[in-house]
């Protein structure tokens, strides 16, 4: 039965095109980031290799969260449109095990097709991305090429992730003979998250300030923890703060659009955080590193050697690049998630359009939910960065205001990019809700 159904997957373009395109985009960006990291890991000069290993690893860690969010969004889109068939199979008496196997087989097939597309995208983009100079020369196609072994391994990891995400997605829906519906239980966000996050930050701060560190290695570990724990704290506390901020929005909502948008976020603060929270980490580091680099750059260049200047330029470029990729991934994640949501709610949106909701009403509701959440995420992240690195940010604002303005500008550009991701989903909304009007 599974083989028969799988053979039909690619016959209807509306079933496979969007999920496969989503997965291609996700894996294309993912492979490019991995290729970029490998460029630094393969540097021959021992001094450069050591320094860049740390930076590349830090960038990879920073991008893990937006990457996971993006994969999750792509998988969510993958899970759409098979709903009616699952319900029909349930009606015919298919068991949970059979349905699970079918979902996995389909997810695997579509993801594999998407990942193959992603590998092509990665290959096609290499000449352009390879022009970016790092460690004294452009990275080049050779520098970014993973090689067949690593490429295959990375693709295999992506397929495994698609399976995992498909299974997680299945847990959230009930398949009944009458249809597939998302379990309508509001996500609870535990207030204890705030306590745990705060405790973590305090402990690390106390350790860092008051406990003497005997050697350099331990100092590096503590230094890393000093940065990493607030990051984890932001991830932990983010959904809870987002919920609190949105509760205020809900209470103050004066228009129908703002009311529905706030309820939309309150329904699943964690899910909304997953969509846009990826930029929190990047914005956090971007602010600190951007200001830090600005301070170093503002110092007299005569005291710096050629290598120091190159490293400074590379780190600055690396920070902007990491931030840009994080925003790009988030924009894609928002686009994919919103597309999945529109498809999930096609009947509701079509009905609301019949009742007189206009395209601009429905669009504004979606834009308000995402952009207001994004504003909250950025405020949390930038606020946390300013608190953690107050001396750096403060000094940079005084001595290198242009560089600080650049940091702000990059964040604004990122917000515009995410807004673009939202706009990209409007045609889907129009076709779902208004095509026959």
């Amino acid at each position: 039965m599974i083989r028969m159904l799988l053979s039909r997957v690619f016959t209807d373009r509306s079933v496979w095109l969007l999920p496969v395109a989503g997965f291609a985009l996700t894996s294309g960006i993912g492979l490019m980031v991995f290729g970029g990291a490998m460029y630094f890991y393969r540097l021959q000069d021992p001094w450069l290799a050591d320094v860049y290993f740390v930076y590349a690893t830090a960038a990879l860690i920073l991008l893990v969260i937006p990457m996971l969010a993006l994969m999750h969004s792509a998988a969510r889109l993958l899970a759409r449109r098979r709903d009616e068939r699952l319900a029909a199979l349930r009606l015919l008496g298919a068991g949970s095990g059979q349905l699970r196997r079918l979902v996995l087989a389909e997810a695997g097939t579509l993801a594999a097709a998407g990942i193959a597309g992603g590998a092509l995208l990665y290959t096609a983009l290499m000449p352009a991305v390879g022009l970016l100079p790092f460690a004294g020369s452009p990275m080049g196609v050779d520098g970014l090429w993973l090689g067949p072994g690593l490429l295959a391994a990375a693709c295999a990891v992506l397929v495994v992730f698609a399976f995992a995400a498909a299974l997680t997605g299945l847990r959230r829906v009930e398949i009944t003979p009458l249809g597939v519906r998302t379990r309508q239980v509001s996500q609870k966000v535990w207030w204890g998250r705030a306590v745990v996050a705060l405790a973590g930050v305090v402990v690390v701060f106390v350790l860092y300030v008051f406990v003497p560190v005997p050697n350099e290695l331990l100092a590096a570990v503590v230094g890393f923890a000093f940065l990493a724990v607030p990051l984890l704290a932001v991830q932990l506390v983010g959904p809870w703060v987002l919920k609190l901020v949105t509760l205020i929005h809900h209470r103050r909502a004066k228009t129908a659009e703002r009311l529905v948008a706030a309820r939309n976020v309150l329904e699943a603060p964690q899910q909304m955080w997953r969509q846009v929270g990826g930029v929190a980490v990047a914005a956090f580091i971007g602010v600190i590193a951007g200001c830090g680099m600005a301070l170093v750059g503002a110092a007299n260049p005569e005291y710096m050697g050629e290598e120091d200047l190159m490293l400074l330029g590379d780190v600055q470029r690396g920070v902007w690049l990491t931030l840009a990729v994080a925003f790009l991934m988030t924009a894609c994640s928002v686009g994919l998630n919103q597309t999945a949501e529109i498809l999930d709610r096609r009947q509701l949106y079509s009905g609301l359009a019949a009742m007189g909701f206009s395209l601009s009403h429905l669009s504004r509701i979606r834009i308000l939910s995402v952009m207001r959440s994004l504003a909250a995420v950025l405020l949390i992240a930038v606020g946390a960065a300013c608190v953690v690195a107050l001396p750096i940010v403060g000094a940079a604002a005084l001595t290198a205001p242009v560089a600080v303005a650049t940091v702000a500008l990059v964040l604004v550009a990122g917000v515009v990019m995410i807004r673009g991701g939202m706009s990209a989903t409007t045609p889907t909304l129009r076709s779902v809700a208004f095509s026959h009007r």
Binding site: Q184, V185, A253, K254, T255, A256, L259, V260, R263, N264, L266, E267, Q347, L348, G351, L352, A353, A354, M355, G356, F357, S358, H361, F434, H436, R437
Partner: protein, 252 residues
């Protein structure tokens, strides 16, 4: 607090509210409506019946301005006597007309799952510019009238099918629309709940003096309406008044 009943002046009973002339609608080579003419009057309840594919849903969509006809006109007369051509105009203008002057109840309810019952109803008013507090008060009054007092803060997932459908009825009535359309409003309910929901829909619409147009497969639902229009192959094949008390049916 404004009571829902005194929100709008009802049209004079028996006066025409909706007039359709020579409606034609085709999809490719299929003719869904083939010259349908119909007049709906204040205070009446019209059941539209017919076999699958007879054009009844298309007729409802054209009458309510969701779809535009290929030929023919639909004119809606407001409480103030002003006439609006439903079948013409830009999509945005027709959407506004539906929002402000027409009420809808669908089989699936189509409530926003993340909103509470009272918010689902209030949103209809807020979209037309009513302040939130005022909108929520009117919404709560309608919910209470439909037997949902105390359930204002429940979400659709926490309501039974019948209760959710009554929230949808409250949403359709809260703007005091000049006419209400219902598409298989009891199609997803058991027979006992079905009867209660239909009664609530009829009472809330007709008692306001507004007409109700119901598209249905269900003969029991149609029997509760004051008029029955039958469609076949996109044409009206019968149009009869129904006398409920004595079960008397007269030709129109």
């Amino acid at each position: 607090m404004n009571h829902p009943y005194v929100h709008n002046t009802p049209p004079a009973l028996g006066s025409p509210v909706l007039t359709a002339e020579g409606l034609v609608k085709t999809y490719g080579t299929t003719c869904a409506l083939d010259g349908v003419s119909l007049q709906v009057r204040a205070g009446e309840s019209v059941a539209i019946m017919g076999p699958s594919g007879s054009g009844k849903t298309t007729l409802m969509h054209v009458l309510s301005g969701i779809l535009t006809p290929d030929a023919g006109d639909v004119i809606l007369r407001g409480a103030d006597g002003a006439e609006v051509v439903v079948s013409a105009g830009h999509a945005e203008a027709r959407a506004r007309l539906r929002r402000e002057q027409i009420g809808f109840v669908f089989q699936e309810g189509l409530l926003l799952p993340e909103l509470t019952a009272v918010e689902n109803v209030a949103v209809a008013l807020m979209l037309s510019g009513t302040a939130r507090k005022e909108a929520e008060q009117q919404a709560a009054a309608w919910l209470a009238r439909l037997g949902l007092a105390g359930m204002e803060n429940r979400r659709p997932g926490e309501l039974s099918g019948g209760q959710a459908q009554r929230v949808a009825i409250a949403r359709a009535q809260v703007t005091s629309p000049g006419i209400v359309f219902a598409d298989e409003p009891t199609g997803a309910l058991d027979s006992a709940t079905s009867e209660q929901v239909l009664h609530a829909l009829l009472a809330s619409t007709v008692s306001r003096g507004a007409p109700l147009v119901v598209v249905t497969h269900d003969a029991d639902v149609a029997a509760q309406c004051s008029r029955l229009v039958r469609l076949e192959d996109g044409r009206v094949v019968s149009d009869t008044l129904q006398e409920h008390a004595g079960g008397q049916v007269s030709a129109r």
